[in-house]
């Protein structure tokens, strides 16, 4: 009974276990399929593996082991990636150029250390997500010259040179970094190269170049403005440069001078240089192409060059023709003055014996016992002595004028002086039957020695009388010309020939017959007038005679 009872219970249990077994195998199959699906392969088929084979194969164990390997490999990869990422990060920050990643809205996504140092305000904490135009360029929106704008628009790399940002200069290059689904560029890498130093060096060089150019221009202007001629010759003696004055002095164009040898232009100078001498103020004759003879003076200087080198020389020269002429004239004038002084000494010595001769001959003439012939000869002695005395007086006056001693200058009225001089001339005028016409106008005073002025008036009237000889007219008039006082003495004599006009004021120049004039009268006048700051001119009078015009500075308000 018990056995009978036990058997159904065991069957029941076996059936339950079999069901359980089925359920567990189904579970294993299900999980195995799940894992196989993860591995990317097809699910198990019943006909392929029966339950026992499945359990013997241990697919879950196999896949678990494989997963362990996958995990190991994954971890290894993660480590390598992390390391690579760290390395990349270090390179990103250590590179000498600024690198930044910018998105389509111009917001900064990444920014390396260099970019931060160079372009970001050190006070600024937050950069990521901010507008690149704001933190890099200090602008409110991207500029039209922004290369990122071009890269976003064209999808190609872009370069902007010499971009000025925050007082520094950069070359900025942008390249596409990421693309959106529609293929347009969504992010760009912007590489910024700081070229400030290079740029500043360039600017400094440019400034320096400009400075040298300016200096060169200044020097060229100076050389061109020189009144001295200037030549630059190379070591072979060929002229490489000349200035304007060089052309003017030599009478040749610049093209005619440059590239010819110094030897062909200034042979004497080239000879000196060839002999190893350095001309300094050396004078030499030169003939212009037009045939004009000139006297030139030249000096030279070697061009500055490193020691032991000779790169040529500079020659300066000037035309001393006029200078020489003037020096000669001065020499002659000095000689004349010396003659004058000497003559004065002799004249003074002669005056006393002449006075004796004149006195005694006049005394003798009063003797009533003289024969006609004796009287005639005595009269000749007296007359000739008188003439000698006149010449001597003129000589003395000429000499006094050169010495300027004993002069008494003060403000005087020229009209008064003329009136005072007339009585001294009246006898002579009457003898020659010369009529005197006077015309005075009120005058400002002139500063002069009255005696000297009186001498001028007398000499001018005497000059007119001698020109007229007998019977005629002399006019004396005074007037003002602007600030000047004008004294005019004119006669109706023969006038002064044009060829003599430039010489009538020279000492000892006379057109009169010997004995009639000393040749000193007008020269003395010219000397006195010149000394007073005035001038004397010669003209023709209304009736063809001579007119002498004396201009003297008038004292206004004084």
């Amino acid at each position: 009974m018990a056995e009978k009872h036990q058997k159904p219970r065991r069957d029941e249990r076996l059936a339950a276990l079999a069901t359980d077994n089925q359920r567990l195998i189904a579970y294993i199959r299900d999980k195995t399929n799940h894992l196989l699906q993860v591995m990317g392969t097809a699910p198990l088929q019943y006909d392929e593996l029966d339950d026992q084979t499945l359990i013997d194969l241990d697919p879950i164990g196999i896949i678990a082991d494989s997963f362990a390997q996958v995990l190991d490999f994954l971890n290894q990869n993660i480590n390598e990636l992390q390391q690579a990422k760290d390395e990349l990060e270090a390179i990103f920050d250590a590179t000498g150029v600024g690198i930044s990643i910018i998105d389509y809205d111009f917001k900064v996504q990444r920014c390396n250390e260099k970019q931060r140092q160079v372009l970001v305000d050190p006070e600024r904490r937050e950069i990521i997500g901010c507008g690149c135009y704001e933190i890099y360029c200090g602008k409110e929106s991207p500029g039209l010259d922004c290369p990122a704008l071009e890269t976003f628009a064209t999808g190609r790399p872009a370069l902007a040179r010499d971009v000025k940002k925050k007082e520094k200069y950069f070359n900025v290059i942008t390249t596409p970094f990421a693309k959106a689904e529609d293929g347009t560029v969504s992010q760009v890498i912007e590489v910024t190269l700081d070229i400030t130093e290079k740029k500043l060096a360039e600017l400094a060089e440019q400034q320096q170049r400009q400075f040298y150019l300016q200096e060169k221009n200044t020097l060229a202007t100076v050389i061109e403005s020189l009144s001295e001629g200037l030549l630059v010759i190379d070591p072979e003696g060929t002229i490489t440069t000349c200035n304007r004055a060089a052309g003017k002095i030599t009478g040749r164009s610049e093209a005619e001078i440059v590239n010819r040898s110094l030897d062909s232009l200034f042979p004497p100078l080239a000879e000196l240089l060839a002999a190893g001498r350095e001309p300094a103020g050396t004078e030499f004759p030169y003939q212009t192409p037009a045939g004009e003879e000139r006297l030139l003076a030249a000096g030279t200087n070697r061009m500055p060059a490193p020691e032991g080198e000779f790169i040529g020389r500079v020659i300066t020269f000037r035309d001393v023709t006029e200078e020489k002429k003037k020096a000669q004239m001065l020499f002659r004038a000095e000689k004349l003055a010396a003659i004058g002084q000497l003559s004065a000494g002799v004249a003074h010595e002669l005056n006393t014996p002449l006075a004796s001769i004149l006195g005694f001959s006049r005394l003798l003439l009063k003797d009533d016992n003289l024969t006609g012939g004796q009287r005639e000869r005595l009269e000749i002695i007296a007359e000739q002595t008188q003439r000698s005395s006149t010449i001597i007086k003129a000589l003395l006056s000429f000499a006094r004028n050169s010495s300027h001693t004993g002069r008494d200058r003060r403000a005087c009225d020229l009209n008064v002086i003329v009136e005072r001089a007339i009585p001294l001339l009246t006898t002579d005028l009457e003898k020659r039957r010369i009529e005197l016409e006077l015309e005075f106008q009120p005058l400002p005073p002139v500063i002069a020695d009255p005696g000297e002025l009186e001498q001028v008036v007398i000499n001018l009237v005497l000059n007119g009388m001698q020109a007229i000889g007998q019977d005629g007219r002399i006019g004396i008039s005074t007037t003002t010309r602007g600030q000047k006082v004008l004294l005019q003495v004119e006669d109706n004599g023969p006038g002064i020939a044009a060829e003599n006009r430039s010489r009538i004021f020279d000492p000892f120049f006379s057109t009169k017959s010997v004995g009639e004039g000393t040749g000193l009268g007008l020269s003395i006048c010219a000397g006195i007038i010149d000394d007073l700051g005035g001038s004397i001119e010669v003209a023709t009078s209304r009736d063809g005679g001579a007119a002498l015009l004396v201009f003297l500075p008038g004292e206004s308000g004084g």
């Binding site: 591995m39 392969t41 699910p43 198990l44 494989s66």
Partner: protein, 84 residues
Amino acid sequence: MSSSSSPNTVELDILGQVCPACMLVVLKEVNQRRQEITSGQTRLLIRTDHRNATVTVPESIRKMGYRVDVAKVNNYYEITVDRR
């Protein structure tokens, strides 16, 4: 074993088997020979004529960190598994 000497080739013939059985067979072999292959001592040469296996098997084994090459030889495929 020196890694510079050429590895021994261990052949695994799964001709006639299809997925996923061949996958499990190959995985089991690779798991068992992990040390040998990663040390460079052994190269595993699998022969299969199941085309799907030339895709699924290399994919899985690559994820486990091996180098896998597939070559077609006559009417079957040769899959070689080496260390990376």
